[in-house]
């Protein structure tokens, strides 16, 4: 009987840990990716113009697309030159704020997830819907350029 109870308890613990893990791991990895984007923006200089990513559309068509100058814009925002960033890409600030917001949200939601286990399901739903809406608002000009 004791063994059976232990078995049930360990199975429950295993299930809980399996449910716990993915959300936190995903949050940590996303936060890491966003930090890498900021590091990329800080590392490459807008003066030297030595960005490794080139626009495929510009290469194919010879004309700039709606997202051209985004790396330049990010680098300038990181350096606090907002006006110049707007000149390079009009939507640069909007996209940058999305990534910055997501970084804050990943940390905040992870803390809430660990601190308040009872509201985990609701938290994940709110996160998915909220992040989806913020994504749509931020990337809307790019999405409309596709369709």
């Amino acid at each position: 009987m004791i063994l059976y109870k232990r078995k049930i308890k360990t199975e429950q613990n295993l299930k809980i840990s399996q449910r716990l893990k993915p959300y936190l791991i995903i949050n940590i990895i996303f936060a890491g990716i966003i930090l890498l984007i900021f590091a990329y923006s800080g590392f490459f200089s807008p003066e030297k113009d030595n960005y490794p990513v080139t626009c495929i559309h510009e290469t194919l068509t010879g004309r700039p697309c709606v997202s051209c100058g985004l790396s330049h814009s990010f680098s300038l925002i990181v350096r606090g030159r907002i006006d110049e960033a707007y000149e390079w890409n009009h939507y640069g600030m909007r996209i940058f704020l999305f990534f910055a917001g997501q970084l804050v949200l990943r940390v905040a939601f992870s803390i809430f997830y660990v601190k308040y286990p009872d509201t985990r399901k609701q938290l994940v739903i709110v996160d998915c819907i909220g992040s989806g809406i913020i994504f749509l608002v931020s990337f809307w000009p790019f999405i409309t350029s596709i369709f």
Binding site: N13, S17, I26, I56, I146
Partner: protein
């Protein structure tokens, strides 16, 4: 007791020797790859490249799902990864049409630019035809004021007076611009 240890998750393996946790890890990898693909796919500059991580996400999710079916482990993350991966890949492929659209628009650009240049040239020429020039010079209390008109009608009259009723349009234009400069 042996059975309990196995179920405790220390080395939980099924009858086929597969770890149920591996499908969960595959699900996390698939979901992360799919979300990155999605973000990349909507950025036109790198949208086409996003097809590569998109395919990787679909493969990871598919392998994970097949493992999960055998192990009866949770499939929520795997299905989410698969769906997002497929949608992101479709958006990535649609970037080809965006390139086509840009190329189509680009064909009209030289004509549009030429039209704008012609319009500006016409406006400048029209304005110069009726320009009035006023020069005021002050020196040691003396004031000199010169008022002259580069108006087309005045010039025509002036030229008629000078050349006895005949005038040259090209000379008039050249003179007008020189005076303005």
């Amino acid at each position: 007791m042996e059975e309990v240890k196995n179920n405790a998750g220390l080395h939980p393996e099924n009858s086929m020797g597969q770890n149920p946790g591996s499908s969960s890890n595959l699900g996390i990898a698939a979901l992360i790859t799919a979300v990155i693909t999605f973000v990349l796919a909507v950025i036109p500059c790198v949208g086409l490249v996003a097809i590569i991580p998109g395919i990787i996400a679909i493969i990871l999710a598919s392998v994970g799902l097949s493992q999960a079916n055998r192990n009866n482990s949770p499939r929520g993350v795997l299905i989410a990864g698969l769906i997002i991966g497929i949608i992101a890949s479709m958006i990535s492929v649609s970037q080809i049409f965006v390139a086509g659209k840009i190329a189509q628009k680009a064909d009209h650009w030289p004509t549009n630019i030429q039209n704008i240049i012609d319009e500006v040239q016409d406006n400048v020429t029209r304005e110069l035809e009726d320009a009035n020039v006023s020069i005021k010079i002050e020196s040691n209390g003396d004031k000199v004021e010169i008022n002259t008109s580069s108006g087309k009608k005045d010039k025509e009259k002036e030229l008629e007076d000078l050349e006895g009723g005949t005038w040259d349009r090209d000379t008039l234009k050249h003179d007008t611009i020189q005076k303005k400069n």
